[in-house]
Amino acid sequence: MKVSLNWLSDYIDLPTSDPTELSDIFANLGHEVEGVEILEPQFRDVVIGKVLTVQPHPNADKVRLCSVDTGDGPTDIICGAWNFEAGATVPVAVPGAILGEDFLITQRDIRGVTSNGMICSAKELGLGEEADGIMVLAEDLPIGTPFVDHIELPDVVFDLAITPNRPDAMSMVGLARELAAHFEITYRVPSPVLGDTTGEMDLRVDIEDDRCRRFVAREVRGVEVRPAPTWMSQRLVKAGVRSISNIVDVSNYVMLELGQPTHAFDRDKVADGHIVVRAATEGETLVTLDGTERQLTPEDLLVADIEQASSLAGTMGGLESEVSDSTTNVLIECASWDPPTVMRMSRRHGLRSEASARFERGVDPNLPPLAADRMAEMIAAHAGGSIVGGMVDNYPEPVEPQVLSLAISEVHRILGIHLSRAEVAGLLARLNFAVSPGGRGDDDIEVAVPTNRPDVTRPIDLIEEVARLHGFDNFPSRVPTGGNGGLSAEQLRLRTLRWVARGAGFSEAHTSTFSGHADLAMLALPADDYRSRTIEVKNPLRDEESIMRTTLIPGLLGSARFNIAHGADSVALFETGKVFFNQESPELGTVPDQPDVFSFVAVGSMGPGDVAEGGRPVDVFAGMALWRSIVDQMGLGSYEIQQAEIPGLHPGRGALIVLEGGPIGHIGELHPAVARAFDLDGRVLVGELDLNPLVADPGIWSFAEPSVFPSSEFDLSFDVATTTPAAALAAEASKAGGELVESVEVFDEFLRGDSKAVGLRVRIRASDRTLTADDVADVRTKVTGAVTASTGANLRGA
């Protein structure tokens, strides 16, 4: 809401006009100041003139020769604007005037005729963007007087962001009330004087829908539609509202002044003098003021006559019933509407207006009579005509001030400051809350809340008002501490996991939670793959963001691609985050399965490198190295790497990672076709593992006494089928060797035609004695026998 300080001063005598001080005060009252405009006149020596005659220029077609009285009798001025005729009151820059910084107006010869000054447009005077025509002013301005006297400059305009709970602050009077509470001074509410009225209103209003809480109408007959007075249109311009005509401007003026949106109909277009407030019917249409034909539904609330809809309640008027230049009789509507109804209507039709912004918040239902009188008074004053006697007031359920009981001890319990009952009562009274002793105990007060404050319905809301007026700056500070805090084992281990991944050369990424069907198609997943169980976003921003991700891999590949496109040779990224899976008929109230995963991708090369080479080319083993680092650094214990064909991965370079509880994910190289789909060259490492088993609390590590006896080591080399995993040989050896086996490592592997050679290094040690030659021979025999028997391997050199 844009607030002119000059206008505001009609309602309150402020002790300061300092913009910074007032900004701070508005902010501390809860009305955030988004901007402050200091307005100064952008001209000098512009006076009010009256156009006496308008004639064609003898030597030019596009301009006209005007005779203008600027207080010293007729003088000739050439003007290029065509939006006025003889009789118009206009601002005239006389010779010697300055527009803007330094544009000096002088007598000029224009095609053989001397022009003694310039008739100005709003833009030329720095009063708005209107440049198509000159400013046509109200007729009653005294000729020859300085124009600046009529437009209230200089001025300060505050742009306030009024919070959605404060309809009362969406007006000049409401803000005057706020400032009066702050300064502890009085403010003035307009009290319209209607004078003599003519006749009695003859209008029937039926409220057929309870979403209309009140409908007040007044009538002014015999008006003349013309421009509003200059001071009024300038106030509207400062408030960001376009000046249209005296009737429309008065309607907007009263809304900005009092906070009550009003509507002016052409009375003669109301069929049978009968207004019906009703829900729209399905398929009904209404052409609104902006010329758009609106398709209506029963959700829409209408003001109609008995024949057709006249306006969308509280949102926008209809074109047909609008006040036009030929209107002579005006019907004034001041109504109170159900706030959610107006909110939904304005959103459904894309019509956010000053009126809907107020009705959405909830306008005081006791405001319409004052607003209707004020509007009638101002129309009569600025459009002529006479006010018709009486007022239609259809108010099915009058709203009374709500009385709340507040315990003073509650103020202390919530705010932490000690205020006496008198202090609390005093603060609330400043806001026109009527305070009286009462309630359950000595400690209580009873507070009648004005009906313009729909946000105050509970004692806590009164406490908020007390805090606000006491001033947040005046509160003490205290720091409470908890007794049972700290990071959980899982949270600490997540940090360790990230540390291990960074140590292995992977940088942490954050990718979008959204994905698209195209991403999953690029991964070449079968329809029955768990990652195809997607959840759709109902109102996605873009097609590429229409589903919740079931895997982090496409996002990470996208980031890898981004980096390659920006010149990186190698990229290694990891991310921990949620994936989301759909399921058949979940129980009511349960959210979808959304586990966290740890995922990584790498392209190019990784690990320590030298000047010549940037490290080891990325392949599946870089992923296995990361996995082994995780196992070692996080103490994961036993695990299994199972060669497997995984959708989307290279058929011969993928592995399932299996912990004691089962598979937790996969590591492998992308299938080359998938890599191409993601526009990536070379081998692409990807991995995705369930996060929970990695970070689960392992409990307390238990100590194993290291043996003091020496170890013994022997190597075995086997020939085995290429499809037999070396890990199977090692696992068999470890099992067969018994408790003496300390470790079995694969130390060598190479292909020999149809088979491959696998070298195992077996280290044995006893905890209680030095090994004998027989021990070594015994283990060697057992290991060899078991490995050859179970894997079909042959001991080489045997």
């Binding site: 501390n28 955030e32 709970n165 404060r166 706030p339 909110m343 959103r347 319990r413 919530i414 705010l415 932490g416 400051i417 509970r458 806590i460 908020e464 805090a467 606000r468 509160f475 003490p476 500070s477 205290r478 720091v479 409470p480 501490t481 908890g482 805090g485 700290g486 990071l487 949270q491 960074r502 140590g503 292995a504 050369g505 992977f506 940088s507 942490e508 990424a509 990718t511 979008s512 939670t513 959840i535 976003v537 109902k538 109102n539 921003l541 963001e545 980031s559 981004f562 990186a568 990229v571 949620k578 989301f580 759909n582 008929s585 979940p586 009511l588 959304q594 690990g607 320590p608 030298d610």
Partner: protein, 361 residues
Amino acid sequence: MQLEIEAQRAAANLSLPMDELEQVATSAPSLIGAAQSLEELKAAETELLGKNSVIAQKRRGLGGLDPADRPTVGAKINEVFAAIQATLNDRKRQLEIIEENVLLVGDRVDVTVPHVRSRLGTQHILTTVMDEVSDIFVSLGYQVATGPEVETAWYNFDALNTPSSHPARAESDTLYVDFGDPADEMLLRTQTSPVQARYMQQHEPPVHVVVPGRVFRSDSLDATHSPVFHQVEGLVVDTDITFADLKGTLEYFARTFFGADRVIKLIPHFFPFTEPSAEMHVSCFVCDGSGCRVCSNSGWIELMGCGMVDPNVFEAVGYDPSKVSGFAFGMGVERLAMVRHGITHIKHFFENDLRVLGQFV
């Protein structure tokens, strides 16, 4: 003749050997010092102590001496021998050092050449900020809680005193997903606050908890808005928590995160789930309040929303608002990072450009 020979022998055995030994002892140091390599030193050693050396000859001739003279001459031989040996050892050590130094000179490398690069990854700045904020509150005794990102409208809105008519629930603001019963109005949480409600349902007061996490809005991407972003939420509930506790806690946070000289101000505001509500502003850490680009010349940076937990929220989760009170606050992680590090566009948090990631570790 015989006598003369005898006399000569006597002189050779007694007086001459002493002179010669003396001579050897005197000349040995310069001979040894002249050796410029371990090889030359070996030759000098052979000359001085080898089997053809004067000392070896004298030692061999010792048996022919008058027994009375033998101890004297023998002692002299040993003395000279030991002295030469010591000088040889000294020179040997010197030459070893010299020769090693020559080797080291040849072994010189250009240490500025990165022959070995161990390439480590970096931590994402959002993680760093979330951990840092969490840790500040952990140091005050808070726990860290997390919750679902796809959430029911009940936890995201209803439990937080945001009725079904509230504009924030419109599809223009909130992203909804197609899952389960339509009655659940399953959505992408618009704030981390639903975790508050879940946490309070599962824990009795006192509550001291901080909630970092990802949140979603139906916002198009621009410099400061993204449909996906992060928040850290805080909640404290106990029997004696007041607005003063909120103020003190946020002051502590601002000073720990932005520096000890920071001051804060609380401006009244409106949120459905707190009453009273406030916006917290911190004095600009760049200009110290005098006005600069970072704070848009206001001297203040708006950092978060906060307030006293609305009684309706307590009732929704089964707490008795007449017995407990509490405060809550929530801040945008991207905004914190952008303000503190001068990051110009929110896209930089999600593009994962290595040139950006590498700036924060």
